[in-house]
């Protein structure tokens, strides 16, 4: 059995995980989700590479300790090297390179977005490829044709805002606080999803793209009329709940419609969903309905594998098996490049 140590520093989260070549997760540590910060005597800052620098070594120590192994047991080091913030990615990449050299073990580079889809494979406990992949988070909203775990072809993405970003910004417009996803979902529970007819961009268009910027503006106007310049969030009540519900329905509809179109266009029979927005219950229900209609199977991992973590880098096992090792001069690649 080979132990993998994986690092994730692509955006806000500093994370490390230990898993085996049999895809058993032995530990998965995410800095913001643990009480590790007590060790540095303060709150863990969420943003910036400096925070990753401060958090990474304790997070690695914790992951190795929780897995019940020592660094000497690690047989392969994996790291997300794309896409993300270059300064943040570099912290993980540099640490992973140093660890691989020091331990004398191979290094594997993993695409963070591909990792989100692979999290479905991890949770399913069986092969899910070929499949359609939907990654829907604060930073990404995109559809992929995944012929194998290692072959990701971008079918289309958002033209402007990511879906998770739209949730956060509409939560701000409605005065619902942060993080916006759960806040809007809670508010929407009491609202009428048909109260406002918000736009579903490209709904009747076969192209597999998303746009949520116009929807955000439509909510702004439905909320304030023409007086958006003196806008203050609406008071709690029926209208606010209706706005939240109608907005959520528009986002979820747009995602479900494009998934159904993509399943039809590609002939794929499985849909794998990753990213923080996949926690939304209305989205899960609509995607299930879309899959039922298209005769496809839906895969959504549990929440701890949806959001950013290092266990999703278990895709590294697939690369390791076929000898796809990273060069010693591996670099961070901020822009998304299909694998």
């Amino acid at each position: 059995m080979t132990y993998f140590l994986a690092l994730e520093t692509s955006c806000d989260e500093t994370a490390a995980a230990v898993f085996t070549d049999g895809l058993t997760v032995k530990s998965s540590v995410v800095a913001s989700q643990t009480d590790l910060h007590a060790r540095f005597g303060g709150v863990v800052p969420e943003i910036a590479s400096r925070a990753h620098l401060r958090n990474l070594l304790p997070v690695i120590d914790e992951a190795v300790r929780k897995a019940g192994i020592t660094l000497a047991d690690v047989g392969c080091v994996a790291v997300h090297n794309t896409p993300g913030l270059v300064g943040a990615l570099l912290v993980g990449v540099t640490a992973a390179k140093a660890l691989a050299v020091a331990l004398g073990v191979p290094l594997v580079a993993v695409n963070h977005v591909a990792g989100h889809i692979y999290a479905c494979r991890m949770a399913a406990g069986r092969d899910i490829f070929p499949c359609l992949g939907l990654v829907v988070s604060g930073g990404h909203t995109a559809l992929f044709r995944c012929d194998t775990a290692l072959s990701l072809n971008l079918l289309g993405g958002t033209r402007d805002d990511a879906a998770g970003e739209a949730f956060d910004k509409v939560a701000a417009i409605l005065g619902l606080g942060f993080p916006g996803g759960p806040a809007v979902e809670r508010e929407a529970a009491a609202g009428d999803p048909k109260a406002f007819a918000f736009p579903r961009a490209f709904a009747s268009d076969p192209r597999l793209e998303f746009s949520f910027s116009g929807l955000k503006t439509a909510v702004l106007y439905a909320c304030h009329g023409q007086d958006v310049r003196q806008a203050t969030p609406p008071p709690p009540g029926k209208k606010r709940a209706d706005l939240a519900a109608s907005f959520q329905e528009a986002v979820v509809d747009a995602l479900a419609v494009k998934c159904r179109q993509a399943l039809e266009q590609t002939g794929l029979t499985r849909l794998a969903v990753g990213g923080g927005v996949s926690a939304n219950k209305r989205l899960r229900a609509k995607l299930q309905a879309a899959c039922d209609r298209a005769g496809a199977e839906l895969f959504i991992p549990p929440m701890n594998l949806c959001t950013d973590n290092a266990a999703m880098a278990a895709l590294a096992v697939e690369k390791w098996r076929v000898g796809q090792f990273a060069p010693p001069d591996l670099d961070a690649e901020p822009n998304f490049i299909g694998s």
Binding site: G138, T158, R159, D160, D161, S213, Y221, V228
Partner: protein, 163 residues
């Protein structure tokens, strides 16, 4: 300081304005974008990138979560977003100082969140929502290179412009 204001009647007007700014920008130029949610900051940035020769302008998307997007073009385009940052320190921690003095063009959305973290010499673009479609642009330059840029830009715009 040079300045002008200009009203555009729709999104196409915002895009045309951005496309004309692109070619006027120089290595190390910093454009500070200010305007509320839905004003069109990202649309404007996409048009500037198009004016700078970015190959696929459609790939220019909001960096709110990802914080910085980089696009290759005639001059590299660095697209920042300060919306969800909590302090000027966090903004500087992104390495903004290096980007601002680099070889590319920096466009910063929500620049008014941390004015102290912006270079003194820059171009300010404020976008105000007039109604569902109309937007009012207020352009202000800081520094002689930007004064010159605004003077050139204003010559390419419609006669309704005042300087």
């Amino acid at each position: 300081m040079s300045s002008f204001t200009l009203e555009v009647s729709d999104l196409a007007g915002t895009e045309a304005l951005g496309r004309r700014l692109g070619p006027l920008l120089f290595p190390g130029a910093v454009v500070a974008l200010v305007g509320q949610l839905g004003a069109g900051k990202t649309h404007f940035t996409r048009a500037v990138a198009e004016g700078l020769g970015v190959r696929t302008p459609a790939a220019v998307t909001s960096p709110t979560f990802t914080l910085i997007h980089e696009y290759p073009a005639r001059l590299p385009v660095y697209h920042f977003d300060a919306y969800r940052l909590a302090s000027a320190r966090e903004f500087l921690d992104l390495g903004t100082g290096e980007y601002f003095h680099g070889d590319g063009v920096c466009l910063v959305e929500w620049a008014d969140r941390f004015p102290e973290a912006l270079p003194a010499e820059r171009l300010d673009v404020r976008i105000e929502i007039v109604d569902a479609h109309r937007r009012r642009f207020e352009i202000n330059s800081h520094g002689s290179r930007y004064d010159q840029l605004v003077n050139e830009w204003v010559r390419t715009e419609s006669p309704s412009v005042r300087t």
